[in-house]
């Protein structure tokens, strides 16, 4: 079977987000320029390109011109040029406009956009250049040769029961052999995670830390917000220990994108990110804009925001890591798209070198590291390298530390600032001294299904769906000790999951057990990051499963 079920390619790209597509496009262009013919194969787990793409998004567009110089700028499916850019500090009911616009947050010249739409556009361009894109296929395994080097990846076996046992309609996964594998899986990639572990790529670096963003797109009455109007909020409903803020972007066709991004280093084990987002929407600043409107889409995504010091080493023999998988994101600006594209372009240049030299070992691929440090990525990421770590101590000390970092060019007063993993921040119920989430927002957690929605309703608007017959894609790492998470933490996953995947069911005899509704999963990976104890592992379900984002 293996000989008929294997494909060989020169480059395998896992994931059709901005970084994977940029790798494909730029490499195709470079190969053509050098008169080289190489096969570039890209697989994407969403039903279509864009199905699993979610971003704010306000995008720095210069990079697009660089990636596709032959394309007339007006052809890019961007939304509106940013016309108004405010930062609002929210109190419980009022707001003040921030007198100073923090640096690195300026959005002049940027555009609001649907990143999903942009990716569909990029995919079409890549196809024109000869890249083969196969959406609807999930890769479940990294393949290694007998020397332990990466030789490609394998798509998931389908037609199996809940335990992975083949059924009558079993279709074995396809082995994709590649000289270079590019991991562009997005945030907390399920394959790249195993690669980072295996090759110890996080060695000597800070662990990666994340935020979780919940986002909705609304149709709003004419006049509520103009295309290109951009607001970022700080403060309510978050307290000074919680890192994050909200955003409201005016899109065309009387639509608005709203969202709340919160650091996953929350201490309260019962913190509910989706509920916090709903509470945020009730603040007059957001409520006014959404009034009379209608929910169109919902989604959730984690952001790697550790910055420069949290980036894994992005290359090993035969493989490169790009985009969110590699932590290319600058938190102060809430921006990763242009860096993702840049990382893809640098990867393409590195791959070209490898083809020219016919050497795919780290020896050649390390050029990628040099290129990153010589690029804008370094220029943008290095000065804010300690930004997120500073805020790990809370918003006020954070602002102070970040302030000193600005003066000292990013070093602050301590050089490299360390950081704990998000899950380490979670306190046990008995150790958490603050007001538990439900008490803190008592009276605000009844959702009216007009402005605010429960998770089940919201997740319906993500279009999430999963095949019934397949191995469960979410694994409690140690089921025998999970009762400790219930007793000590009240099972945080039931709170932090923004898609109502986890439920604690109390039987008539009072016995509590965890139930997993994997079919709701929005592929945000929060559970993989934030569940304490032995944790939860997120693996890819069947290709074509997951959310069905249209314009996120």
């Amino acid at each position: 079977m293996s000989d008929t079920n294997t494909v060989s390619t020169d480059v395998l790209i896992v994931g059709a987000g901005p970084s994977g597509l940029a790798t494909a496009i730029h490499l195709a262009d470079l190969l053509k320029k050098h008169d080289l013919k190489r096969r570039i194969l890209l697989v994407e787990k969403g039903t279509a390109v864009g199905s699993h793409i979610l971003s704010g998004a306000v995008i720095r567009v210069e990079i697009l011109k660089e990636l596709l110089p032959e394309v007339d700028f007006s052809e890019f499916p961007l939304n509106a040029k940013v016309t108004k850019d405010s930062i609002l500090l929210l109190g419980e009911s009022g707001s003040i406009k921030s007198p100073v616009h923090p640096p690195y947050m300026g959005n002049k010249g940027n555009y609001t956009a649907s990143l999903g739409q942009l990716c569909r556009f990029l995919a079409a361009k890549a196809e024109e250049k000869g890249v083969e894109i196969y959406p609807g296929f999930a890769v479940s395994e990294v393949l290694y040769d007998d020397k332990g080097k990466i030789r490609g990846a394998k798509t998931i076996d389908t037609g199996v029961d809940h335990h992975g046992k083949p059924l009558e309609n079993f279709q074995p996964g396809t082995e994709i052999e590649a000289r270079i594998t590019v991991f562009a899986e997005g945030t907390r990639g399920s394959l790249v995670k195993t690669v980072i572990d295996r090759f110890d790529l996080q060695k000597g670096r800070n662990p990666q830390v994340y935020s979780l963003g919940c986002k909705e797109i609304w149709s709003v009455p004419e006049g509520n917000i103009a295309p290109g109007e951009v607001y970022h909020t700080m403060g309510y409903p978050l307290n000074l220990h919680e890192f994050g803020g909200g955003f409201i972007y005016g899109l065309n066709d009387n639509r608005a994108a709203v969202g709340l991004v919160v650091g996953l280093d929350t201490a309260d084990p019962t913190f509910d990110f989706h509920a916090a987002f709903q509470v945020w929407k009730t603040h007059p600043v957001a409520a006014k804009i959404l009034k009379g409107g209608k929910l169109l889409e919902y989604g959730a995504k984690t952001l790697p925001e550790g910055g420069y010091y949290s980036m894994p080493k992005p290359y090993v023999d035969h493989a490169l890591i790009v985009g969110d998988s590699g932590g290319f994101l600058i938190m102060p600006a809430l921006k990763g798209v242009h860096l993702a594209i840049r990382s893809g372009m640098l990867t393409a240049e590195t791959a070209l070198s490898a083809f020219v030299k016919n050497d795919f070992s780290e020896n050649t691929l390390k050029e990628y590291g040099t290129k990153i440090d010589d690029s804008n990525i370094y220029k943008e990421m290095y000065p804010v390298r300690n930004f997120r770590q500073a805020f790990a101590k809370g918003m006020i000390p954070g602002a102070f530390m970040f302030g000193t970092q600005l003066i000292t060019g990013g070093a602050g007063l301590a050089g490299k600032v360390g950081v704990h993993t998000d899950v380490d921040a979670t306190r046990k119920l008995k150790d958490f001294s603050g007001k538990p989430f439900k008490k803190r927002f008592a009276g605000k957690l009844e959702f009216d299904k007009i402005l605010t929605f429960d998770k089940v309703t919201d997740i319906f608007y993500s279009g999430a769906h999963h095949d019934e017959e397949q191995a469960v894609h979410l694994h409690v790492n140690n089921p025998s000790t999970y009762h400790l998470n219930i007793e000590q933490y009240d099972a945080p996953c039931r709170y932090f999951c923004p898609a109502e995947v986890y439920e604690i069911h109390t039987g008539r005899n009072g016995h509590k057990e965890l139930r997993i509704h994997a079919e709701n999963c929005a592929h945000c990976k929060t559970c993989d990051i934030k569940e304490p104890g032995s944790g939860i592992t997120w693996t890819a379900p069947n290709g074509g499963n997951g959310p069905e984002y249209q314009n996120m």
Partner: protein, 646 residues
Amino acid sequence: MTIITLIKQVPLPNEMRMGDDGLMDRTRAKSIINIDCQFGLEAGLQLKKHYPDARMIVCSMGPGSFEAALKTAVSMGYDEAYLLSDRKLGGSDTYATGLAISTMLKHLGFTKDSKEPFVIFAGRQTSDGDTAHVPSQVAENLGIPQATFCESAKPDGKGNIIAKRIIEGGYQMMQLPVPCLVSLTPTGIPPRKPSLVGAIKARNMAVKVFGVEDIHLGTEKIGLSGSPTIVAAVANIESERPPVVLSEGTTESALVDNLIANMKKCGNVLQHKEVKEKTEKERPDFPVIDTRGDNKHILTWAEIANGQIARPSLELFTPARHLVEQLDNDTKIKTVLIGKNVAPLARTLFEHGADEVILVEDDRLEEYLVLPFADIIAQIIKEQKPEIALFAATTSGRELAPRIAVKTGSGVTADCTGLEIGEYINRKDKKIICPILHSHRPTYGESKLATILGFVYPQISTARAGTFEVPQRVEGRTGAVSKFKPEFVEEDFRAQILETVRGGGGLQNLFEAEIIVSGGRGATSDGLKLVKELAEALKDKGLKAEWAVSRAVVDEGHAEYARQIGQTGKTVRPKVYVAIGISGAIQHLAGMKESGGVVAIDRNPKAAIFRNADFGIVGEYEDLIPELIERVKRGFTFGIEIKNNS
């Protein structure tokens, strides 16, 4: 061996995406391979396991955009793809479609006499047409045997195919010689996912596209003008069932409380509302023409199940009598009765409304087989020249009628819910054809009601089972019995029935129950104990209650066939239908969607049953049903009044 699968591309049913206006956004509706056809594709791939070197062919007819569906089939494991695509085919009805597809197959070298053995797979029916005609009509045009409504098809090692055919209340194992055609219900082995190697193959292959001239198909019998039937009108059927009201609450007790409150608050029940967008045009002063010639009388076929006339065949007398009243006074209902020693059953037919019984008796006709029965009825039609022929839309009627129609050149209207005599104003030729049969049938997932007219006699329709009442029996009513001696065609007995399994008819009380508690696959972890207990508790309160199951439960051996609700089981319409752990497969919905009120309990909020229910609770049935039983014991009756005398 060559394995050929026929597929159609259709808009995704139940596309659960809301547009800006809150309505279903049809423009975004994606196209998919018709679900039944996907099962056909899988059946072909399953057969390939026994013939590893089989040539795998997939065919379709439709616009160029259907290439996407054909390529998906290739990515699942097929090798060659052919598409018949021609503007001249636009507006073809099922008769014309069957003709065109079989002509393409003949052009590809597949005929009754081909040296190369082949098996054709097809889906039972399509979601946008729902007729189930095309497979039968392709088989008839090719002159090969068929088995429709099948779940599986395996070789017997002696060159035959053994197909499991689903029939009302049971199944049949059929032995078919090769070549043959098998149509698949969406209940067999689910379609596999494409493989990446397959997708790469599909990307690099070309679909062979034929026009009608390429396959030497004359245009006189295809397209809008060549088809024997036309769609005369389409009306919208609006909001049959308002959206489900889901219970809210965090504990079982609260969820059940909320259900009871919801049921009290809103009498959410089935409402049929047909929105007629009639822009009454003035009736023109054209000459009225009666085109019937010497075609007269209404022919029906009496199907036999378990030694009795099947209920749907008795139901036929209701629309038949209605049509007689609208036609000339001397129009008769003539019923064909075929079988072995079945003469005594004629009495039942007369007592329910037959004026004349045409009796065909032979030892070889003991069991229904589509080939000889189609031949015999076609012979009777040629002799009797009826103006209308009616069949119950059972698994037999729905394959028999289209196969007969190919022999008589008639059109067929499938699965009708209304039959009326009317007229047809032909504005082009300036004439009015009257009388003519107006066959009304729901289509497009029951969202439209189409009116179909046929211009070739007899006008053939199948009537949906469970839609018409069985007429009141008139004791002692009688009529003339005439015997018909058919000419047997030896070839017709090539396909054989190896075994018929039917749950003993029984459980007629399911038809009379006020409330049915029905359990699905998701309610079997306790062997249906809770389902039975709830039904028992309701009975104890004096309600006419009964328990039933979905097909999967019967398959798993938890209950007998007689309790199965659905397309291949019973069609029921109690005042309240309580669906527990039932996902809501189309075939199940067909059996219960006419219920007054539907209460659904299932753990999966996205289960289709919730889109076809009035009230629902999302949760585990093991936790919820005990709570519900307690409430029933305390007097909750799902809003049904308890009659003291019962």
